[in-house]
Point group: C2
Chain length 660, copies 2
């Protein structure tokens, strides 16, 4: 230890001191940075080491100094699962010598002894390297150290990059500092980062009014879902629904005969979490749905809600997995004074916890075996973090392409902890961030370090549980602007349809965010082809997402100033800085709003004094902008937003041959 003079601090990316992995997707470049420095004035060298979990072999990349003792190197993740990386640094005596020699020679000093010193250094290095390298070093040392040779020639030789490169690859192990333990990157497939979700209730998929929909009906809707540009079709739970204490329409405490109950009240006489509600179809029907969807580039995401009704087979077969009350009855869910008698939560502190954990894991395993690769997990924040950390890691160890979306509408630290524990994507506060100030503050937080390293937001303007006030009162422009925000602020977003595209906006009662006649408790029939539907608009936004790489990642987000609180402006730029999209949206669904946008030109890679072309991908209109300040006016009745592709360079007459 004691001859190690280099220290390494603040290695990034790193989550909670290395306790959790940072997340990336296949093909992404990981920029590793660290503070690497030593005492005194000697030169330092640093190397990034990385390896995939499947191999013990480390790859190395020399790091470059940025400013202020910060070093950087990159590697690309090309396999799913875990990568390990770390940083090593050491005092580079050869480089220190080389620079000193150059300065002294330039100052006209006698460098004979310095040339001897360099020769001695090279000979020392040659002792720890192999054949060719050793020979190169020795020959070089003999030449540089030979007083009989021409002095100037030796000084030129002393600067040889070949020799320094060999030396840098073979530092004296006694002086190398290495950050331990290595840090971890968890690599997902690309859809973990860029995905476009559509949620529907299969039982409302029938085109025939009053009929209970089936998987076959969902199959028939696939072309429409695909035409709208979605690549994930998410279904609420498809399992048998409990009869005991079943809720009626609009969450009424009692239900009438024929009321279908909530799909989240899982477990009936027909089975539990590994069974299918008979009215939806069979396991084979479900398999065909997955396969047909796949043909259209759509994946089926399944809802996993770990809770039981009193009718669930678990209650009979494993009463030890439920907390008992003093009278021997099972404790139903409560949020005092509210009671949910139709739901029995699992008792995670049961002495039999290990069997319970194993069984819950087997639920995922079962559906994975049916071909499901994406799960939306219901209320994960009401189950222990340790359970999630275990089950997600266990599953991904053998199935690293499986994606988990956490539906944890809860306090921020709980939400973040679930993401750290391994959830691929997360629901978040987007539904309640409507003003410019709220949106800017929240998106700065989740797209900056440390949050962006582990938390991937999936933005939902609505869900079956959330009809935000903004949509209740804003009409068509509100739906349009929230869709644009979701689809351009978030590389992953989703809508609950057809309630969204048909602009369903009636709450159960004033002040409530519950839908009136919610599909959670009843079968609905939708007129999907109503002319007012936002289908076409949604399809356009999703096409823009597919065509513009900056919208496929949550990095590169910059907010720009607008002198009108109702207008928000932000840009997204891809990693290499070659493409930028600028969104300007009118958050006021009722009035025309206009104002001056002041662009942060540096973030867009634009020179201060230049003209650039703004192509509005929504309307097809084109604008010429110049410099940072430009005027925008948006009429919500027409289109509440611009999604501009910035064309960096506008031709001038000098670009044409005939100008010459």
């Amino acid at each position: 230890m004691s001859k190690v003079r280099v220290v390494i601090e603040n290695v990034t990316p790193r989550v909670d001191c290395g306790q959790f992995p940072a997340k990336r997707v296949l093909g992404e470049s990981v920029a590793v940075e660290a503070d690497v420095f030593t005492d005194g004035h000697d030169s330092v060298a640093a190397t990034l080491f990385y390896r995939h979990e499947s191999t013990p072999e480390w790859h190395s990349v020399p790091m470059s100094a940025l400013i202020n003792d910060r070093w950087q190197a990159r590697f690309t993740v090309q396999a799913l699962g875990h990568y390990f990386f770390t940083v090593a640094g050491w005092v580079d005596h050869v480089e220190t010598w080389r620079q000193g020699l150059a300065k002294k020679y330039e100052a006209g000093q006698d460098v004979e002894l310095d040339l001897q010193t360099g020769a001695a250094l090279a000979r020392t290095v040659s002792e720890r390297v192999r054949d060719t390298d050793a020979r190169t070093l020795k020959e070089w040392a003999n030449a540089v150290g030979d007083p009989a040779r021409d002095r100037e020639e030796r000084v030129v030789l002393a600067q040889s990059e070949t020799v320094h490169e060999i030396a840098r690859r073979h530092p004296d192990p006694e002086i190398v500092a290495r950050h331990e333990p290595p840090l971890v990157i968890d690599v997902d497939r690309k859809r973990a980062r860029f995905s476009t979700w559509y949620e529907l209730f299969p039982r409302s998929a029938s085109p025939r009014a009053g009929e209970h929909g089936t998987f076959a009906d969902v199959e028939a809707l696939l072309p429409e879902v695909s035409a709208m540009g979605f690549d994930v079709l998410y279904l609420p739970p498809i399992h048998p629904i409990g009869a005991t204490e079943r809720k009626g329409p609009n969450n009424r405490a009692s239900c009438a005969a024929g009321d279908p109950g909530s799909p989240w009240a899982i477990g009936g006489k027909e089975g539990g979490h590994k069974s299918i509600h008979p009215e939806l179809g069979t396991l084979e029907d479900f398999g065909r749905l997955i396969s047909k969807a796949g043909e259209l580039g759509i994946e089926i995401a399944l809802d996993i809600a770990f809770q039981s009704t009193p009718d669930h087979p678990y209650v009979r077969e494993h009463p030890e997995w439920f907390l008992k009350r003093p009278d021997g009855s099972i404790q139903y869910a409560e949020n005092p004074p509210k009671k949910y008698q139709d739901i029995y939560p699992f008792w995670f502190e049961t002495p039999d916890w290990n069997a319970l954990w194993a069984e819950l894991k087997s639920v995922f395993d079962f559906w994975i075996a049916q071909g499901v690769r994406i799960f939306r997990v219901d209320n994960p924040h009401t189950k222990p973090f340790a359970f999630w950390e275990w089950v997600l890691a266990e599953i991904r160890r053998s199935q690293p392409d499986v994606i988990f979306l956490a539906e944890a509408f809860t306090r921020p630290k709980v939400m973040y902890r679930l993401a750290k524990a391994g959830f691929t994507q997360s629901y978040n506060y987007f539904p309640w961030r409507n003003s410019k100030r709220e949106i800017e503050a929240y998106f700065k937080e989740i797209t900056s370090r440390p949050v962006c390293e582990f938390f991937r937001a999936n933005l939902w303007p609505n869900t079956p549980d959330i009809l935000p006030e903004y949509l209740q009162f804003g009409g068509r422009p509100a739906f349009m602007v929230r869709l644009v925000l979701a689809g351009t602020l978030g590389a992953s977003y989703g809508i609950y349809g057809p309630a969204f595209e048909l602009m369903e906006d009636r709450p159960r009662e004033p002040g409530s965010e519950e839908y009136l006649d919610s599909e959670k408790y009843q079968v609905r029939t939708w007129d999907r082809d109503r002319p007012s539907s936002l289908k076409e608009f949604i399809a356009r936004v999703n096409r823009i997402r597919r065509d513009n790489r900056p919208l496929q990642s949550d990095t590169g987000l910059t907010f720009h100033t607008v002198d009108n609180e109702a207008l928000i402006a932000y840009s997204k730029t891809n990693d290499s800085g070659t493409e930028s999209v600028l969104v300007v949206a009118n958050l006021d669904p009722h009035h025309v709003q206009a104002g001056w946008v002041t662009l942060d030109l540096e973030s867009l890679g634009l020179p201060l004094d230049t003209t650039f072309q703004m192509d509005d991908l929504l309307s097809g209109a084109r604008f010429l902008w110049r410099g940072p300040r430009n005027f925008v006016s948006l009429d919500p009745g027409h289109s509440p937003a611009h999604i501009f592709r910035i064309r960096r360079r506008v031709r001038t007459e000098r670009d044409f041959d005939y100008f010459l």
Copy 2:
């Protein structure tokens, strides 16, 4: 592990993930915070555990919830050395039950089963507690669980704080999460935080022109140093000075007979780091100086500079501690193309490094044995961090009251690393932070987390190496304002005198920050009683520091807005918020500057609409201010700053008896 549902994150204070201790001084209160939370809606409890290194016994303090899942508790450090602390948390089933019961009862629900549940919970707890507590719990359980008793009485009993307090002290160990390993606080004595330094060259202490000063001459100056209000007297190295390659006045390459050389050129025929330069006196004289100083409340701080001249005994006795050049000569210090042939640096990568480290440690040990408890360490950034980490910890293990000031004028991360490695105080960039913007940015950085947890700035407006440009051109007002800034921005500060109070401002040459005729290379005679001396002003500032607790700590600093870039305003408030000092300074030494100060009243604990009295402790003048905006005008020719004590409450007629 698996029944543990609570997680603990982001425990503070913590430096570099717990790699280094946070610093405090005796008697300070440590506010420990952590994010503590669980899944679901259950109540959580958290406890702070702490102990001094001298005892294995942990003390515990219940933590309180702040907002957003953040918890806090405090403990006071009452012994020098290391304290360990950690945080434990668990799901508080008893509290969850108690709250649920209250809500249900209020809602008029039947709570009979809930009362039974509570009784069962208490019986479970009673199994893991002792005599009295167990009896209390059982009696309580019998009462609460007895259906024959009055229901309302049982509900009241259920809220018993006694019982819940017992339960909270005895959580089920199977469900307790504990942050591991514990974190460390390094406790210094108070002078580590609040100290007022005066540096002088003993050899220039003689009142007789041309004579080499002695320790006895320094002794004679002690009353003056004390009258100015200093409590640390720092002496440059007092060791024998080398003769080989000795530098002449103004750092000339050659010296004449009688030139004394630089005190930092350590080692001559009379000895090395454990010897005293004969012209200064003997070890006994030095001991007497320490003791006389002590009588005036002044400590002597010694300069330790780990480097040797060619004449140092080490060169002869331990040639293996120095790097050899190919011709067998010892490598002198270089910063190519500059050469420092009078200085031989130690070779810390020598194979004999462990003997070298031990010898260097023995230098500190030697002077500690003579009674020195404060060291100013010269250029620590040119020696390995690992050495400092080792030697400072080793010394402080047995002598935890020893203070080390790092003179590391170097890059920021190197400077910070030395502080983390164990230096008590640090030189810093204060000499070069002169404009409002520079001062605000720098002091925000060093008084905020994470820096403030490990880095204690000691502010020097000048040193023998640094005569800042600002002092060269600003005249008397510049010296005054830099003194006020140093003494009020920094709980620790120092001046190099008498150059400072006599306003020595001539550089060696234009553009240089070296003093002309620097004491580093020659003996100077000073007219300490010159009427223009800033002695009295310095004494006043130091008295203000002693009388006002907010100035004795680097916490509680807030900058306030002034609409004039030449005026800076900042306040310091003590931990409990009872005392505040506001400084307004004119940074322009040439012109009267005036402007409106906008106070951050919240940081001062002042209501928005109130009148408060501002007592200028420098001039004795009093001002009545009201609300946030108040006018200030400062004439540098008179006094370039106000140091206000804020008297929060101003009497009104209602405060007098006769008003009633």
